[in-house]
Symmetry: C2
Subunit: 737 residues, 2 copies
């Protein structure tokens, strides 16, 4: 479900060609790289764009949301395909809460009357857009039932900074219905925050400035969102925990203990509905009150006002609160040497409607990868470690299929999982990768070994050019993987279980506005996103290499220098944060005291005077600094041992086990404050961003929220976690010597 | 005619309370400040908002463009008023070229057909908007006659940077008709540049993002430009020379020698017409070709494409190329001690239509100032120096009234003019001032002596608060006057004759979209711009003080420390410019060589790859540095003499004459390259900005245009001019000792 809108802000791919064995054409962890490189060549030769295209067309030919007939059909199809290629494949189902709409009514009752259509029209240019009987209507899953009438308030993106502006202007949303634009945060944040602020209903719409005509020609002329296109999507409180809302922490098996729906904490507190800009325009146009700040204005041909009112809105929503089966497809190929070490590769298969881009474009790349790997086994080659290919169901409503499976198999995964490699929707453009920085060097190596099909240079070189041109900085560092927040199925693996994970894909040249609408179709995808499935094949090349290198390495391609320097950067940021906040507070308090804001304000406009900032105390970062200094030293020692290439083969097994277990030590079993499902101390989705990552989340969010006592505690927890990691590095050193 | 859109970028008012006589309640140049302050108090008591309101209503009650009956009527009215107050007043007329439209046709001939309305509808909420018989239709004065048909190209604001983008994308406007948005430069630059690039026609429209619904509610609900509102305006090549196109450099008297219209260089080379966004939308919507870059997109509900075509446009324009009388009102009050020293105060009175804001709001403040000054003379007080109050005609077509008068009286003005103080349209908000930096301290003093009517602090304090809040920098320096480019009647005085000048007004809280439309009316002004004429009265207070202090000072309030430090800042900028260009060129050449732009480009989109920058040579700035060092020293010496307050009264007359003559030495009689009418070596309007200033224009523009030999010559010319100025300071020093 993740939308790659943050792509442009990702750091670049920077390749440093080092590995566990220092030699020409070295690849990390292989004593005999030539054999592995030969294998990858054969792998590439297997990949056929026609397969991706055929499967994409087949799997997106009907709506296939959770609980739909074609969802099950696709799962069975995939399982059969995996079996036909030689995998042990099964469809594993969980029983999960998946509400669908029963009543949807949105109308303006004054000053003029208007009833929202809430319908996406079929287009003759889009073959599947007319499958109205099977399509889920436009709605936000896990919205509360409700029947509310109130004045409307425009809240921009509905993120914390927007409510701060409203507070400055003296506008309260208590008892009102808010209308927020999509983007700026994960959508679930919008009703969550609105409810916290006292609003009784929430409307989310797609402004043409964000993915409509302002960006480019609209569908079917171009790829962007047309007047009546709507973004469906989940609004469950995923930053609390993802997965089935009724079974946090455990698999949603038939007889799992379930919460009462009334007490399930991740359901929204207020009714919320997504609408098109066609439906939003009359509502926004009827708002009075102050003109919205310049940065709040969207692309509609109106003057954006904040309200409240005079527009009055009636929102009535009722849902069928059904338990539905979620069908995960799990396909395994047993490892020849280490069957109890699993390299896991996943993509979801459920969609909001036909979902050609999201998720099938990624799913078919995974399938072709799995098929090609299976073909290689016919030549006698076998993976040393077990491969687990997964097609997740129920990702769209809240990463449910993957989360339930991960929770259900938690103990086994903690023991066996070497790494998890995720993909989701794919498109034409540039390689991006996020994940565990212990795998950054591996990704860089792979990026430097695959050719970009449009430019004929390596993926790493093209991405570097992109980052240099877009930053305007010719000294840009190059390839770095980003930290993972949330938004796709890596979350249960990395953030709940501490399995080193990666999330990989292509994008940046496949922009559009089809996301979560009926127009995310084969017709749209094959015209605008990746014609000829060219980048689908490249995705299979990249992920095939990552999977096979992890499966076959003599010494697993984990590495700790990049991890240290990345964490040191994060630590530097959080250590500077209080000082920056203090300076800003001093500045603003000085300007308030001098009365500058009042003097500069137009008496006929709202005075957006800052609220007086509170004093910022001094924190003791020394425990973190001490742990980091030790990490630096130990990471360098491990690096030296791995690079020397002198570890005796007899020690490899023990070293490998310790290498892939290292990420586990970054888990703090007591979890993050107020959301103990999230246990990773380095990476988490933000409590008020939803998908956007917060690194060193315990410390960073406590500081940002000005919870100073908690910040001090979290520094100690983080330092203790890094100490655990350091002790683990000691074990690797001992095992390698 | 100047639009105060650059207001927000002006530097702040920073007051340093020093003066020629250092004492409590000192004001620069007065041995007995108490008497002068008492006089100003009485002056303030005279000012009546009702007068401004009544005259505003009267003078904007009918259209009064050049050559219209009501233009003459207003001139006669003003002259009569000045006479009634005791001034020697006369209406001085010149015969100037003023074309008006005969044929106006703009239509799209394909792919669909559309005919532009070119009409602003009357509104029942606006009493004068229905005076269609007397209104000038929407047009651009000095457009060429023409009948052209061609494909359309969208060129954003139509400024040099935009054509550079087009060139990168491989789009040529040769033989095409361009459509450009208003703003981003003075409008005359758009057809000038389009013609230079080979276009055969030019359309200019008001995008709603710039002064329409994106900014706020449109008229009559709010002040902004509505669907069919059009900005009229001159497109003569004013950066070459302003004033009557047929009589450059001399007054357009009855028997002046005139150029043939066919050879007049300031007329546009191609036909050009202004339109509303209502008329622009179908044209823009019919464009194909690449989607415009993000920063080019406006506020219409369409995807902005560049073209060329398929939209094909037919533009036919014919004009009556008539000579019309321009009626300047000149009112004098003879100085009691120095009748041959003139303090000149001016505002124009002609409008494009009814012109309540532009120019009458400023004109009536000038009139009330003149009336109050005259009232003071009834108490026995007389100004020591002669006051000259001017109401200029024909400013809108090209500063014609003021330019012809200044050219006609050049010799007398060079001898007698102490300073020129200009105003134009006024509004609610913050004080701004631009002009000669030798008068910066005087303006600061005045700003600190007048109270802001909305906040009760001084104008200087309010402006400082504004600058601090908007820059976010609490250490912002405070009040500085900006450098003058062009756009109002100060230009002939400062840039042609070297008369120290100021341009003063209020704005920032009176934004709107009435500019140069039929909706610039009394109804609009009194509702949205300055209800109650509150800031009109404050403008009279400020300009009355400036005028009276210059008229009455014992030692004229000129000062050279601010001038030195300002010029030093400009010099620092131009000296850094080649280095910055060199670094940028090296960076871009490096990135081009490394092929980064091609690798980063989307093969399905235009590749906006930079054109290879040329090598930047090293310039010899030492002559400029030497002259500046001398200036610094001499300015300090003069400052010391003035501040000590020890100059003997017998020497005042000689010192004063030298003080006000100082600006004259900044004139280089040979003028700027390619436009010898502009002779000031410190301030000029940009050759490709039109209104926007270029400081040290000879050197700066040569560097910007990469004319390196010329840049080196201009450094020498500038240094020689500063040396003349330095010698003049020597004379002051000698006279004062």
């Amino acid at each position: 479900m993740r939308r790659l809108t943050t792509f442009l802000s990702l750091a670049a791919l920077g390749v440093s060609m080092t590995g566990a064995f220092a030699q020409d054409k070295a690849i990390m962890g292989f004593k005999d790289p030539a054999t592995e490189l030969e294998l990858e060549k054969k792998f590439d030769q297997q990949l056929k764009a026609e397969n991706l295209d055929q499967w994409l067309k087949r799997m997106s030919s009907r709506p296939h949301h959770v609980g739909s007939p074609f969802d099950k059909d696709n799962a069975d199809f995939m399982a059969a395909m995996f079996k036909s290629w030689g995998y042990e494949a099964e469809v594993v189902s969980y029983d999960v809460l998946f509400p669908t709409p029963k009543v949807r009514l949105l109308e303006m009752t004054g000053p003029s009357r208007f009833k929202a259509g809430l319908v996406e029209p079929a287009l003759k240019e889009d073959a599947t857009s007319g499958q109205t009987k099977e399509q889920l209507p436009v709605y936000n899953a896990y919205s509360a039932d409700g029947d509310v009438t109130a004045e409307l308030v425009y809240v921009n993106y509905g993120v914390p900074a927007d409510y701060e502006e409203l507070e400055k202007a003296g506008i309260d949303v208590k008892g009102k219905i808010v209308i927020a634009k999509y983007y700026g945060s994960w959508r679930g944040i919008k009703p969550k925050l609105a409810a916290e602020k006292g609003a009784i209903g929430c409307i989310i719409y797609s402004d043409p400035a964000d993915d409509g005509y302002v960006q480019g020609d609209v569908y079917p002329e171009g790829p962007y969102r047309s007047e009546h296109g709507v973004q469906r999507g989940s609004v469950m409180d995923m930053p609390l925990y993802p997965g089935d809302p009724l079974t946090p922490g455990v698999g949603a098996t038939k007889d799992a203990k379930r919460l009462d729906i009334k007490t399930a904490p991740t359901l929204t507190k207020i009714p919320v509905i997504p609408i098109s800009y066609g439906d939003a325009k009359p509502l926004l146009d009827a708002l009075g009150g102050p003109v919205a700040p310049a940065s709040w204005r969207g692309g509609l041909p109106i003057t954006y006002h904040i309200g409240p009112g005079p527009a009055k809105v009636h929102l009535k929503l009722e849902f069928n609160w059904d338990i539905k089966p979620a069908y995960n497809v799990i396909a395994k190929m047993k490892g020849s040497e280490f069957p109890d070490q699993w390299v896991i590769r996943g993509n979801h298969h459920d969609a909001w409607v036909n979902g050609a881009a999201d998720p099938v474009s990624g799913m078919v790349a995974l399938m072709e990868e799995a098929r090609a790997v299976a073909e290689l086994t016919k030549t006698g080659w076998k993976p040393k470690r077990t491969l687990v290919y997964c097609g997740w169901d129920a990702e769209e409503p809240g990463l449910i299929g993957s989360t339930e499976w991960a929770e259900d198999h938690a103990a086994e995964l903690k023991e066996k999982a070497v790494a998890y490699i995720n993909t989701d929707g794919n498109g034409r453009g540039f390689l991006f990768a996020g994940g565990s920085h212990t795998l950054e060097e591996l990704v860089g190596e792979v990026a430097a070994s695959v050719t970009d099909p449009q430019k004929g240079v390596t993926l790493a070189e093209r991405r570097k050019a992109f980052d240099i041109v877009n930053s305007g900085n010719p000294d840009h560092k190059g390839f770095q993987i980003s930290a993972l927040g949330s938004g796709s199925d890596f979350t249960p693996f990395i953030q709940h279980l501490g399995v080193a994970s990666l999330n990989v894909g292509f994008g940046g040249e496949s922009g559009g506005g089809e996301y979560h609408s009926i127009y995310d179709s084969y017709d749209h995808y094959s015209r605008f996103q990746d014609p000829g499935m060219v980048y689908g094949v490249v995705l299979a090349q990249v992920c095939g290499r990552l999977t096979m290198r992890l499966a076959n390495a003599d010494i697993l391609p984990f590495e700790f220098d990049h991890f240290y320097s990345t964490v040191a950067t994060y630590a530097d940021e959080v250590m500077k944060l209080p000082e920056q906040m203090r300076e800003e507070a001093d500045k603003i308090n000085g300007m308030l005291k001098a009365n500058y804001y009042d003097l500069a304000a137009d008496p006929k406009q709202p005075n957006y005077k800052p609220l007086p900032p509170k004093e910022v105390p001094y924190l003791n970062f020394s425990p973190l600094q001490t742990s980091l200094a030790t990490l630096k030293e130990k990471a360098a020692t491990v690096e030296g041992l791995l690079k020397a290439g002198s570890i005796a083969p007899a020690k490899w097994a023990k070293v490998n086990e310790l290498l892939y277990q290292s990420e586990r030590t970054l888990i703090d079993e007591s979890g993050l404050p107020r959301r103990d499902w999230f246990k990773h101390e380095i990476y988490a989705p933000g409590f008020y961003t939803g998908y956007g990552v917060k690194t060193l989340p315990g410390v960073r969010e406590a500081i940002e929220q000005e919870e100073w006592a908690e910040a001090q505690e979290e520094i100690i927890t983080l330092a203790a976690t890094l100490d655990k990691f350091n002790s683990h590095l000691d074990k690797i050193i001992a095992a390698a010597k």
